[in-house]
């Protein structure tokens, strides 16, 4: 079984993002970029499934600018066998991404598409669900456990207040949540090997997919800052202030 793993290049999660002065977006020039952390978890899970013998090939896909090649090389250093870069000038919305991925799924015929549950830049949490809808395939979102059982896959999902287990007929779409695994660090020999693995580049236009955005960004702003608080000397003083000043207890 083949597993397709889409990966996104985003601002590194340790970077404090800054809103541009003109309100058009956030500053990305000269900022450290990395693979979206949830996508790393997805790559790791795919590699583990291959190591267990449940998968035979892992294809990493990224949609974006030329530099997304770095993200794909990282995925291959972690264990993906080959990569596809779909070149676009801007970062398409989840609907467009799902349509591009549908075109690739039709070409590659993977048994599972394994994605991160959300990207930490636009925080949409939508692409996996949308791809599953477009393909009319079952979805196991927010996965904390994935077990292949013959022609189906059992997915344990993080839901509000606990866990839900579903069984999905293959082919299926799965999105990775935080607890699914801890991604490995790529070793130096594997980073070297990844450089020689095949990376195919496709222009988004060649897939015949409409990627026109549906959302216009009117503005991007800093969230309102909280006003500075006060330090209190003791628990008794705190309780007094919460009762008489803040009136929350």
């Amino acid at each position: 079984m083949k597993i397709l793993v889409p990966v996104k290049r985003v601002i590194d999660y340790n970077v404090k993002v800054r809103v541009k002065a003109d309100g058009s977006g956030v500053e990305t020039a000269g900022v450290k970029m990395s693979m979206n952390p949830f996508d790393e978890i997805a790559v790791e899970e795919a590699v583990r499934l291959k190591e267990k013998g449940a998968a035979t090939e892992i294809v990493a896909v990224s949609i974006g600018v030329q530099q997304a090649q770095d993200t794909l090389r990282t995925a291959m250093a972690m264990g993906a066998d080959r990569a596809i870069l779909v070149l676009t000038e801007e970062s398409p919305e989840p609907l467009a991404v799902a349509k591009i991925l549908r075109a690739l799924v039709e070409r590659e015929q993977p048994g599972i598409v394994l994605l991160g549950k959300q990207a930490i830049d636009d925080d949409m949490n939508a692409t996996g669900q949308m791809l599953a809808g477009l393909l009319d395939r079952p979805q196991g979102t927010f996965a904390s456990k994935v077990e292949i059982e013959g022609e189906s896959v059992r997915v344990t999902r993080e839901i509000d207040g606990g866990l839900e287990t579903v069984s999905l007929q293959l082919p299926a779409i799965i999105t990775a949540d935080l607890r699914l695994n801890e991604p490995r660090y790529a070793s130096l020999p594997n980073i070297m090997k990844a450089r020689k693995k095949p990376l195919e580049t496709i222009a988004a236009g060649d897939l015949g997919v409409d990627v026109a955005p549906r959302l216009t960004v009117v503005k991007v702003a800093e969230p309102p800052a909280r006003k500075a608080g006060v330090m209190v000397g003791s628990a008794a003083e705190l309780v007094e202030k919460l009762r008489s000043e803040a009136k929350v207890i």
């Binding site: 809808g133 007929q169 800093e222 006060v230 003791s234 008794a236 929350v248």
Partner: protein, 307 residues
């Protein structure tokens, strides 16, 4: 305009987060509520102030609110509505994007403010920026953050309940089991008070020291990602960008340094209290009241001061 709101329910009741979604939807137009698989919950939905009509789907295939059949159902109903709304809960986030794709619509998740029928504000980059976006789609599909909208009152409505005919959907997914954490406490995402512990709690055993304080305050217990990653508590207690987004009246952070991703999950709380031994901890920059000290000393003092 008429808006369809998919309601989350449990044990015959509508979850508070969904009542917030009703409140948000009411600013857009007349509200119709969709309840899937629970007749008692449909009765509760009919009483929510502002709900004009309740649609009840009783098809057994929908019993566990799996995304595949519920999204198909939403699409079959969508023609009558300008907006399809749900609370940004695990259920809403699972189902709505799928339905949106089937409708060829780009969904708008985690809305914190409705500017007008086409324009919405939502957080990006873990809440470090707020994007105002305008949708050109004919129909809008959105999830709303419960913390940013007051819940519609649970009583006051007198809506009719209409039972829907079953909709065919391929049974490619199957519910196996659900395992809910057993707790007498309020739900983390709707609690009036949240008491959270971080790495400073040191271990799982110490983390339980928060329970008497939470009991005294009627609070839900939360945790930072550091506490979850250290194995002190289960992931469902995690407050932050990669966990739950909360905005209680009172948020008490004990032994939490205040990483960016944690602040994104709680900085909209009305009053924030931080107790940390490090006076330089970033949590103090968002706290209304801070105590610098050893939490194992402050915690019992706090309990006795509360009486």
């Amino acid at each position: 305009m008429t808006v369809l709101v998919l309601l989350d329910h449990e044990e015959g009741q509508i979850r508070q987060a969904s009542r917030s979604a009703v409140q948000a939807a009411a600013t857009l137009g007349t509200v119709h509520a969709l309840v899937v698989g629970d007749e008692a919950a449909a009765g509760a939905a009919a009483k929510i102030a502002g709900v004009e009509k309740v649609l009840l789907a009783t098809d057994p295939a929908l019993a566990h609110e799996l995304a595949e059949p519920v999204a198909t159902l939403l699409v079959s109903l969508a023609g009558d509505y300008s907006h399809i709304v749900a609370a940004a809960t695990a259920t809403g986030k699972n189902i709505l994007p799928r339905a949106a794709a089937l409708l060829d619509v780009q969904p708008i998740p985690d809305v914190v403010e409705i500017v007008d029928a086409d324009t919405f504000v939502r957080p990006i980059y873990a809440g470090n920026a707020l994007a105002t976006v305008r949708s050109s789609d004919g129909k809008k599909v959105l999830t709303v953050r419960a913390a940013n909208f007051d819940p519609a009152p649970a009583d006051g409505g007198t809506a009719d309940v209409a039972t829907l005919a079953p909709v065919a959907s391929p049974a490619t997914s199957q519910f196996i089991a659900v395992e809910l954490s057993q707790s007498e406490r309020p739900e983390l995402d709707s609690a009036r008070v949240v008491v959270s512990g971080g790495r400073g709690m040191q271990n799982a055993e110490n983390f339980r020291l928060l329970e008497p304080l939470a009991d005294r305050l009627g609070a839900a217990i939360g945790a930072s990602r550091a506490a979850v990653d250290s194995g002190f508590v289960a992931n469902e207690l995690q407050v932050g960008q990669t966990g739950k987004i909360v905005a209680p009246e009172l948020y008490v952070a004990l032994g939490i340094s205040g990483a960016i991703q944690h602040l994104a999950g709680m900085k909209d709380s009305k009053v924030i209290v931080a107790i940390n031994k490090d006076p330089e901890a970033p949590i103090f920059q968002v706290a209304d009241y801070g105590i610098v000290g050893d939490l194992f000393t402050v915690l019992p003092e706090l309990e006795s001061a509360l009486g």
